[in-house]
Subunit: 116 residues, 2 copies
């Protein structure tokens, strides 16, 4: 059934199961916010191992799971890799403008704190 990129299936919330509080909580962690920003820039899917986070593999797995279970990203297995993509359409339908303003806010803050 479905599309079958692989055997292993991952549990994702349906669009109407996504909760604002969970999304905000997922984005309130600096490491996860950074992941989301890079996914937004990449305009496509990135594997978990693409990200060079300053934590161990198990902690990385944990953060990606929080993002997936809150409905922020979609994860699929592709061979040994696990690809991650932003759920832009679902988020835009539920919370128009929210993701973009968070991404913009993060970019502004980074410019403010590090850049000139």
């Amino acid at each position: 059934m479905t599309t079958a990129t692989s055997s292993r299936e991952l549990a994702h919330p349906e669009r109407d199961e996504i909760r604002l509080e969970a999304v905000l909580h997922a984005l309130s962690d600096p490491m996860r916010l950074q992941v989301v920003r890079e996914l937004a820039e990449a305009q496509g899917e990135l594997s978990c191992s693409y990200f060079d986070l300053p934590v161990t593999k198990s902690t990385t797995t944990h953060h990606f799971r929080v993002l997936r279970e809150s409905g922020v990203i979609r994860q699929v297995y592709r061979g040994t890799a696990k690809m991650n993509g932003l759920r832009r359409e679902d988020l835009a339908a539920l919370f128009p403008g929210l993701l973009d303003s968070v991404l913009d806010a993060a970019a502004r803050q980074e410019r403010r704190l590090t850049g000139s």
Copy 2:
């Protein structure tokens, strides 16, 4: 100095000390999000006791402190009451559109879940 509504002064982060992650974390709690929504509707200052939260006074104090220390609200003493107001200007300057899209998202979610 300053304006002197009372003796007791409360510590607030300066505008440039406000962090996006802290704001998102503050807003990710259902009770605090509800408080912020009511403050936004009220278009002014509301006392802590205006809110009839389903928790004790000490927990209420805790939530208002999280909102204040994250930079979402400003609190001043007025007699025995403590008035709360959204820091709209500061938030709009730092993160344009963020507060509005969160408020809009919260309203949409409420309509989706409870209303028709």
